[in-house]
Amino acid sequence: MRPLDPRLLTYARVTRKFLVASVIIGTAIALLAVVQAFALAGIITEVFQAGAGLAEVTDAIWVLVAVILARVALSYLAEVVANSTAAKAKSQLRTALLDHVMKLGPVWLARRGEGELAALTTRGINALDAYYARYLPMLVLAVTVPIVGGVTILTQDLLAAVIVALTLPLIPVFMVLVGLYTKGRVDRQWRTLGVLSGHFLDVVAGLPTLAVFGRAKAQAANIRRIGDAYRVATLRVLRVSFLSSLVLELLATLSVALIAVSIGLRLVEGNFTLYAGLVVLILAPEVYLPLRMVGANFHAAAEGLGAAEGVFEVLDTEPPATGSRTDVPDPSRVGIEIRDLSVEYADRGAPALDGFSGQIAPGRMTALVGPSGSGKTTLLNVLLGFVQPNSGEVRIGDVDLAELDPDAWRAHVAYVPQRPRLLSMSLRDNVALGAPDADDDRIVAALTAAGATDVLDSLPDGLDTPLGEGGHGLSVGQQRRVAVARALLRDAPLVLLDEPTAALDVATEADVLAAVKEHARGRTVVVVAHRTSLAELADDVVVVPETGAIRVVE
């Protein structure tokens, strides 16, 4: 583990300023420690050896008071700077991550595991708090204090300085060695944590299903088993990674003990002064303290850096190459031609689409039919620019879809996914997601057209009712109709619908179909249809044949 990942300086730019501030504060703290040591040694020597009283050491006491006041101010400053930097750095990383994930798109997200990634984006990044607040400043102090303190000790006692000079460099060496040894394990532990949180979420999300089969209570034993395995595995890692701080503390405190004993023995022989001895004794622990703190906070920092590593891994994932043309042809006026399109997902053996060709005529309603699993949804994902084909092309009029800027292209598209999601915001905002300027009249009209008036009527605060994440409180059919209303309101020339009438009863389905048909006037509509009622409604039918490896029983 590198103590300071250079990518942190790139993605969390606030880190740079923080390092400069830390060096300034760190140097001041080191100088104050030296002044305090001289003042205390002076007072003790004067009183013990020369029999001085308070009056004779007044000056030294005032120096001591001044040092303490300066330390108080610096402690405050250092703490505030570190904590606000941590908050800003996390925020910068989170923003970079979110922006990048948006570039990678929904299909990448679903395959990467959205729960694990959400945990990384929120809790994972929070682990950087400890890194900024307790680790990085100590890392800087671990440079400034030994230099300032070490030089001061050298002016007082060559032998003590030699002991410091020999042991101090050993500490980072051991740190690197133990760090190298534990790196893989700490990374694995972070992944285990992700898997564990994924497993726990999976089990909680599947609670209704588990309950049906009488397996819900038995899963408690499973959670305990995984928790215990995680504890044992983590402790095994900790036994090793705590070893690094054991070595550090041992070197640090044992060196202080050696210095104290050597000074004592030389004092007995009379070839050393008490004053110099006290200065060295007071400074020696201070010299090792920052390195000890670095060791003590190593584990917390490793967790933060492990999370940062996970973030960088996402940030380093190359987003698919996208075009930049913004002169998008109007898809309601020009046809869409699909030529020899193949799509293969890395984690699925068989291609999702294998050399598919077809045409979508402008201003007409085209139904995509074909057995389940034949790649109809994948085709929509390609049309949306969520998936880049491995080969083949999609032409909008005479323009290759790959040359178009995806945002500019999607501004012409409305879409109802197979499993539409409602977001945790009001019904109004959910419907107006793709048309934020729409007024209430248009929103209600869209809901009415989508046969969703009953949804509006059933909610206590009408359009203002907050809908839970995933649309809790609404049935699957109600969620779908809200999603259809969302697409209608978007008023786009190309409308893509993935089974828009699934989970709807016959009467509501007829309402929705009528609305879709009405809406289709002057637009190009592509609809994935399982039901004959949908396919019959369409002007054209395009068959997406099953690909080689996925077979469905006829």
Binding site: I68, V212, K217, A220, T253, Y415, P420, V506
Partner: protein, 567 residues
Amino acid sequence: MTTSKQSEAPTPGAEQDPSEGAIRRLMRLSRPVSGRLVLAAILGALAVGSSVGLLATSAWLISRASEQPPVLFLTIAVVSVRAFGIGRAVFRYAERLVSHDAAFRTLTDMRVSIYSRLADNGPVALRPYRRGDLLSRLVADVDSVQDLSLRVLVPGLAGFIVAAGSVALAVWLLPAAGAILAVALIVGGVAVPWLTMRTGAASAARLAPVQGRMTSEVVDLFSGAADVMSCGAGRRMVARIEATDDEFTRVQSEGAAAAGLAAALGAAAQGAAVVGAVLVAVPAVRSGDLSGVNLAVVVLLPLAAYEAVVNLPTAALALLRVRSSAERVFEVIDTPPAVTETSAPKPLPAPADGVRRVELRDVAAHYPGADRDAVSGVDLTLRTGSTTALVGPSGAGKSTIASVLERFLDYDGRVTLDGTELAELDSDQVRTVIGLCAQDAHVFDTTIGENVRLANRSADDVAVLAALDAARLGDWVAAQPDGLDAAVGMHGAALSGGQRQRLALARALIADFDVLVLDEPTEHLDAETAAALMADLRAATAGKAVLLITHRPADAASADRIVEVGR
């Protein structure tokens, strides 16, 4: 060793006096590891005590040596200095291992106890929580709860022991210096943490909910990415998270000021102790109350002794976070169940002449907290060997009837299983007879085989493949290179919508329920496959009582009876 039997024991922290504080309740959950925690505190005290001892004995050694006594007089001091030099590192290492072990044990206990409670309450009780918020409560909040032992209990107890020991040493050398040190340690160990807690309380309590909101917004964006991006709303949704992020950053910065204040006051207390020691010790040496050789010990002692309390303000802030997180966790645990279990369940009735009979008479049901019924006035009868179709517009409460039959939700009216009221039976036993293939059946992140076997642990591969065949998924599984061992991904990401539905069907079939509720089984299937599946279903469920919830006229037509709701 923990056995599964123990984990299914009544949930600790379940039957609670509601006024009991979250921390106190948490302490009860930590009781099984209290021995380990005390051991960790003692080891921690020995570690910090070694630091104090090292500085004190070194100061005495150097002062005494400067008087040039025979070396023999210094032997004990020399040995002590070296011993303290080693002790600190060794004790610290042991303390950290013991305390982490205890914290992880408590963490697992918490997870198990929370999960058991959720399982007892039933799935309907979780409806009020957003999935992201629930994830945050069950993962992040439960994690931060382990800080109670690591960051609060162990350092607190260890600090108290060392502080008391250091004061005792100072009092023995010079009572006035001891008094000053005691005051400084009380300021640093009690007043500063208390102040930190007061100033940080508001921000710490606000941090957890903001974090929860941010988590649910992030989950929103990630799971709804297709909806959001196709609407061109990606930038807006990211901006929404950034606004929450800004609030989070601001709340955290308020905590930063509190932490800074604590650090400053701590430094002031420590500095005052050193100056105070000088001010009383210098005259005491003159007056002979303090021997000169101990002057350095008295003056330098505060420098080392302060380490006993230096971490306590952090501990106080940790305590606040723990309390806020614990309250959020307990809130989920304490959500009242949607089903009232009978205290004296009747035995499960045997079917008369092998025929199961489920009757619903004027049944109504409403979700907890809702002020109106989700469904009402339902009458229907299910009998072995016959299929009843339940039809009605979407939102009419068809799935609510499924929840009632599964005993996930209480009901009004009468529901009887072979003549015995459903509410008078043990819910778990009801679910061995009445099964459900839900509309949103969950596909677990494991293999296809394991997903099916979940419903019947004793089923062998042959039985699993037969069930998959009956759900028209057998050929597809056979075409997979890994067969039954093929992984389905998170939420069944590697499967299409129709395949997920058929996997859930196979699972419901292999469980071999007498009464089976099928909630929209042909959703996501093309018409041809749907018709074929319905025919297979008729065959596979011939000997059962089936309730088919559907809105497809074609599906309903094949049923023996059709019941409408919501019209």
